[in-house]
Symmetry: C2
Subunit: 447 residues, 2 copies
């Protein structure tokens, strides 16, 4: 394209290539398209792209699977997209060290499957694991269903290989489980949404696959009872690997999509999974706690039956997406405020008339209120966005955060100063300037 001076090898500028990388799954639609896209095959492609971008002061938006939910990888005119989805090799997997070294384009579930061959697993499991990349998981510090017990992406990343904005390569972190030499640049880059450096390699921690699992599904008269039961499980000092809450709006959508009758069992459900030796005894203890809140519950140690119980949770988002366009929020609150959060969200929906379903990682207080509008409707402005903003408000009032695991991206940026305060933001902008003095890495996102 004439707007891109000099030679950038492998740059694609045709409309379809640019259209394919203009946004993510957030519902945000940029008005213009990026100027071009480089599909990197190796680190050298990344180095050359960034050298070129630095020389020409051209903003670069790095992209993995495009499964982001905060418009963190959306790109517009004047910007070049750096697509790392083709750098998808698992370079090394050392079962003895329980470590994997991967390129950023590796699909999350592929790594998990490779680890499983050695009796290991990769703990972070965003709902998008089948389509999201490790690089994207690192960019957003992705979470998932198993985080309450196993931590988020940050806890799984031991070290990173980076290309800086000017094309220099830097390694952070280590190959060892522990290490405190120097500041934690690894942790700083995890969750930085492509604004500090481009991740071209990661050393990841794997964990032993649990020997057993046991699973329980429980149904409740209302969502506040379900949230209270979740809080009571935590208060009883039980530590499920999975503790998911699903509300009535979601259950109705799942029933419509799958022909099930979950809604008839109650207006909210919890799905709980314990793992490790003693999983069955743990789930029995969970059942004892849940019994005082639930209308009915069912527990199983059979993996096939367990998948059936988990289906209500897993089918939730696709079922809602089948009913319209969605914006998936990602607020988190202290665990004891979960019931207050879900009833607050219901009140916002009632007051605004906007349809909001709620799925929550109840074990760590991370809620995904899902704003649903008619197909082709707008979720990032108008009444739907106002309802979404009321939910942000609610989360901050309850001592929570705007985003537990999806990132700030473009969409939550205006809210960030209120959560962080100007002095903290000032430090963050200073750090950004240290890594990216020209401001070419994903400008306008994250911080």
């Amino acid at each position: 394209m004439s707007t891109l001076p000099g030679l950038l090898p492998g740059l694609l500028t045709d409309h379809d290539s640019r259209d394919a990388v203009a946004t993510d799954r957030s519902g945000h639609r940029p008005v213009t398209l990026p100027d071009g896209v480089v599909r990197a095959r190796d680190v050298q492609d990344v180095v050359e792209t960034l050298r070129w971008a630095s020389a020409h002061r051209t903003p670069v938006v790095t992209r993995g699977g495009g499964s982001g939910l905060a418009a963190g990888a959306s790109a517009s005119a004047g910007e070049v997209v750096l697509d790392l989805s083709g750098m998808d090799r698992i370079l090394d997997l050392r079962p003895q060290d329980q470590v994997a070294v991967v390129e950023p384009g590796v699909i999350t579930s592929h790594l998990d499957a490779a680890a499983a061959e050695h009796g290991l697993f990769y703990a972070p499991d965003p709902a998008s694991a089948a389509i999201s990349t490790i690089g994207g998981n690192i960019a957003t510090n992705a979470g998932g269903l198993r985080c309450a017990k196993y931590g988020v992406t940050r806890e799984a990343v031991l070290g990173l290989d980076l290309v800086l904005a000017d094309g220099r390569r830097v390694s952070t972190g280590r190959q060892t489980v522990k290490g405190v030499a120097g500041y934690d640049l690894t942790g700083l880059v995890v969750g930085s949404e492509g604004t500090l450096a481009v991740v071209v390699g990661a050393t990841l921690r794997l964990r032993p696959k649990p020997l057993e699992t046991a699973t329980l599904a429980a149904h409740f008269d209302d969502v506040v009872a379900a949230a209270s039961a979740a809080a009571a499980i935590t208060a009883a000092r039980l530590q499920p690997a999975v503790l998911e809450l699903v509300d009535a709006v979601t259950l109705e959508a799942v029933d419509a999509a799958r022909g099930s009758a979950l809604r008839s069992l109650g207006a909210a459900a919890l799905v709980v999974q314990c793992d490790g030796r003693g999983a069955r005894a743990d789930i029995d203890a969970v059942a004892e706690v849940v019994a005082s809140f639930a209308t009915s519950w069912r527990a199983t140690s059979d993996p096939v039956e367990a998948e059936e119980l988990l289906a209500a949770r897993r089918a939730g988002l696709p079922a809602l997406e089948a009913t319209g366009d969605v914006f998936i929020e990602d607020v988190a609150v202290p665990r004891s405020r979960l019931a207050a959060a879900v009833s607050g969200i219901q009140a916002i929906s009632a007051r605004t008339g906007v349809r909001i379903a709620t799925i929550a990682h109840a074990g760590d207080g991370n809620l995904h209120p899902i704003v649903v509008v008619e197909r082709g409707g707008t979720v990032t402005e108008g009444p739907a966005w106002e309802a979404a903003c009321a939910v942000f408000d609610l989360a901050l009032e309850l001592g929570g955060t705007l985003t537990g695991e999806h990132g700030v991206g473009l969409l939550k940026r205006t809210w960030l100063a209120r959560e962080l305060g100007e002095d903290s933001l000032g430090l963050q902008r200073g750090i950004k300037a240290v890594f990216d003095p020209l401001g070419i890495l994903n400008p306008g996102k994250g911080i």
Copy 2:
């Protein structure tokens, strides 16, 4: 003191007060004493000290329990010590959220004891837990015996209250389990050894106390067999909460101190503890793995007997300290290189004639080679230091790090560039300048 212009309230300048805060437990002895010490009682004291220090360009060395092992809190002429050990209140402990909010001077074991009243525990357990402070643990990203399973201090810190070098107050992180709004300033400050900001408050994650524990001690003909057994436990995908290795030199010192006969059972020992429901079944599985390597082993589910088995590990350092002056190293290697590391350390000791004992957190590949010299001898220069440097060399050759959990401090600083590289150090210096443009916070330490 005449060298301290202006009014700094509460400044102590008498010789004894200054002498008491001049160094830590690293073995490093500064040639001069700091100019004075402020014993802060509250956040306002910290704010005023830093405002004063900024105005007068006076370096400030923040200090907790003085239990550091890398001279990170040592202070000399021209510097003022800010002693936070008096800010020792647990401000809030919310069992429902499994969260505690504390001042930095809280003794680590006191927090653990307070959590225990609610059936919870504070996971990081440095060997110094009875004398170290939470603030010091945060400064060094302290580890301990339980880290292989429960993570280090960084994993336990949800949010921080900071005073910046210019006296401004900033909060980082969150009250929630998850949160990704903005860069991870919390993780950046953890392990920064007092060089970025002064921690005046911390929101910490507590965990449910395990229902059961089971413990095993095993003895081996040589330390390489013990290290191989430790690697085999990991490779068998077992996850002990404690997996400690003790070598012959340490066993001899323990026997001398306690009148035991552990050395007669073998030239190395492993102490293993599993916890949670199924702990006994787990320790039986550990025993099965260990059996092919060990000359003898003993397992128990009785807590009193377990403490006896752990005593060989816990008594190791005090027993060695009774035989001379020590420098405690802190290298970490990939878990599969543990045997290579311990045999390499033995070779260094044989070659140099310097006595080196080794205790290791074998579960995460973190070794503490302990250089022992005659009482009153020098560990930070001469042959002892050369032997210590050979161990640093060895760790880096094995793909490891200089420091797993003690920090860089003053003593390992010259080695840092070799581990990190100049580009990484450049970024770190840039970050330092963002937080502390005048360079008054613990200059010459950490990075």
